[in-house]
């Protein structure tokens, strides 16, 4: 990285609260995450603790007196001590280093010891994430994801921001077979989502609008019938979408996509910020989502499946996005960076037959499948249109399914299986013979596609 250009990966709140970097643990180059990690982890539960103290503390004091209150305080302090001690042990037992083969090794665990080896040639993505409290101290966590079944990620929590950046660069450089001190690659901003567009787009999503209309309906019923039952529903149907809109707004605020030799970088977040780098050729499938009320502005959301990312972060599913909202032609341009040679306009769509109307009266006109030398694409949905694209070389398996109703109409559903993620490549209720023929051919195309695929050898570009 040149001196005049500041790093684009991660940021702090500009408070100047920094902690010194720490050196390696021993001569073999083993490292530890930063020693104040247990404190930062503890700090992040303080707001919840204070809230709990206010809620329950007052009632304990009022109903049981000062003695019980003091007892409760002591218990809480002891619990906090245990949590801190455990955090300290976790920190003590976590070491990471690069082994002789250039792979990232992580040893961790207090009660159960775990030794992990991440084969960096199979790197899928690197994230630098900064929860608000880590940002306060100018710290960050690094998530490294490799291809593999089950839990194949490593989370290093917390490093100083400069160490997280350095480690990220080293991981990317090693995985590309470059020298380990290659520095941060320059970036070229492709798109930035204005906060206003993000807010409007979230409000105009089909689910938001439907739920808000439902709450308006419940409110109307409540007023007209002068009963209070409807209010309970209105609180849920009104509250849920507002919560979703607010949380997605905070999460995707300032969404920026940029291109760099490392791969495609996305940066987002208002309170918690994240920088994700996806090396080229790691995208397994892509989907354009176009809710009904976005169409007038010709906006789309672009989602992708990346092996190992977004499907096993605890229990919550994380939507891997290329952009939360963008004008259609801009989105297509972005996707071109991920799949060179993709030409959506030249695809020849094979539509579902007219008898499909009896199975899917609303969306039947939209359903279609298409393919060219590079990709297979499916189109479906009337209210929310979905267009999914999968390169032949990324096809895992192909399925044709047929339910009783489809069978009566001689229809069949085509699925092209891709790695877990938000995108599913499905063309429902096609003509059964067509579905079967496309499935057969797709298996051949997948076989040939893999033979000629060079997108994963990206260091050679």
């Amino acid at each position: 990285m040149s001196d005049h250009e500041p790093s684009k990966v991660g940021d702090d709140l500009g408070l100047g609260l920094t902690v010194p970097d720490i050196g390696p643990v021993d001569a073999t180059g083993r490292r530890r995450v930063h020693p104040i990690t247990p404190v930062v982890q503890a700090v992040s539960v303080i707001p919840a603790g204070i809230f709990l103290a206010f809620v329950s503390g007052g009632s304990i004091l009022a109903s049981f007196g000062l003695g019980a209150f003091a007892g409760a305080v002591v218990i809480i302090l002891i619990l906090a001590g245990i949590v801190l001690a455990f955090g300290y042990l976790r920190w003590r037992n976590l070491t990471y280093w690069f082994d002789d083969d250039g792979d990232l090794r992580v040893d961790s665990g207090v009660i159960t010891r775990k030794e992990r080896r991440l084969q960096l040639s199979r790197l899928q993505a690197v994230d630098v994430a900064q929860p608000l409290f880590a940002r306060l101290f100018s710290m960050a966590e690094l998530n490294v994801e490799v291809a593999g079944s089950g839990d194949s990620r490593v989370k290093l929590q917390y490093l100083t921001l400069s160490q997280a950046r350095a480690l990220r660069n080293e991981v990317l450089a090693r995985s590309a077979g470059l020298s380990e001190d290659a520095g941060e690659a320059p970036e070229d901003v492709l798109a930035k989502v204005p906060p206003k567009d993000l807010a409007i787009s979230l409000l105009l999503r089909t689910s938001t609008v439907t739920l808000l209309l439902a709450s308006a309906g419940f409110l109307a019923i409540t007023v007209l019938s002068q009963g209070w039952g409807g209010l309970i529903f209105a609180v849920v149907t009104g509250g849920v979408p507002i919560l979703i809109v607010v949380s997605e707004f905070l999460r995707y605020y300032g969404f920026t996509v940029s291109d760099s030799p490392d791969g495609l970088r996305t940066r987002f977040g208002l309170l918690r910020t994240e920088t994700r780098t996806v090396p080229p050729g790691r995208v397994q499938s892509i989907e354009f989502v176009e809710p009904f009320l976005w169409r007038r502005r010709s906006w789309v959301r672009v989602r992708v499946n990346i092996a190992g990312v977004g499907n096993d972060e605890g229990n919550k599913k994380v939507e891997t996005l290329i952009t939360p909202v963008a004008p259609k032609d801009e989105a297509v341009q972005l996707v071109h960076r991920l799949m060179a040679g993709l030409d959506l306009d030249a695809l020849e769509w094979q539509a579902a037959p007219e008898r499909c109307r009896r199975r899917s009266p609303i969306q039947w006109r939209q359903i279609a499948v298409a393919w060219d030398a590079l990709v297979l694409a499916t189109r479906r949905g009337r209210v929310t249109r979905r267009l999914a694209v999968i390169p032949h070389a990324r096809t895992q398996s192909v399925r044709v399914t047929q339910g009783p109703w489809e069978r009566a109409l001689d229809l069949g559903t085509l699925h092209v299986d891709t790695t877990p993620g938000p995108v599913s490549v499905t063309a429902p209720h096609l003509d059964a013979a067509l579905a079967w023929q496309v499935a057969q051919e797709q298996s051949d195309r997948a076989h040939r596609g893999r033979g000629t695929d060079t997108s994963t050898h990206w260091a050679a570009r």
Binding site: A307, V400, D417, A433, A439
Partner: protein
């Protein structure tokens, strides 16, 4: 079965059906699960204040579904099968909800061979293929253990030959 032979869901060339022993295995499991229904009826008969039509209804419904499921197992198991082709494996199943999966050998990540206690008693085994996609549902139940082991080894060898990362 004649109506099945001329559509996509039965691939004629090289199609291997699963062992009919699986029918017995599944019918035994069905009978075991219906023991619960029998117990329920006996309990109902013992409770004093329950009108007699209650256990009779439960019994009639139980017998009817039992006979239907018994028959269905035969048809379903006969619908299971697979075909090893040049570059991929075909797995088919289902009567009401039919499904046909094509798994290219190069995409297989691992092959599971497993058998529950009843299956072991009767000598049937299940072979399951996994790819990097969680939605790949390629399960071949009801193979004779030797056939299953041989299939696994062949698949593993073919997978190795054609393996191509992700």
């Amino acid at each position: 079965m004649a109506d099945l032979t001329h559509d996509a869901f039965t691939y004629e060339e090289g199609w291997t059906a699963v062992s009919p022993r699986l029918i017995t295995a599944r019918r035994i499991s069905l009978a075991l699960s219906y023991l619960l229904v029998v117990v329920l009826i006996v309990v109902l008969l013992w409770v004093p204040d329950i009108p007699v039509w209650a256990p009779v209804t439960v019994g009639a419904v139980g017998v009817a579904t039992f006979v239907w499921l018994w028959w269905l197992i035969g048809r379903r198991v006969r619908s299971f099968g697979y075909a090893e082709r040049g570059d991929d494996l075909l797995v088919g199943s289902g009567i009401m909800f039919r499904r046909l999966v094509i798994v290219p050998y190069g995409r297989m990540q691992l092959v599971d061979v497993k058998a529950g206690p009843i299956d072991r008693m009767l000598g049937v085994t299940t072979v399951q293929l996994h790819t990097a996609a969680a939605t790949t549902d390629a399960t071949i139940p009801g193979l004779v253990p030797e056939v299953a082991a041989a299939l696994r080894d062949r698949l593993a060898a073919k997978g190795e030959e054609r393996s191509a990362g992700l």
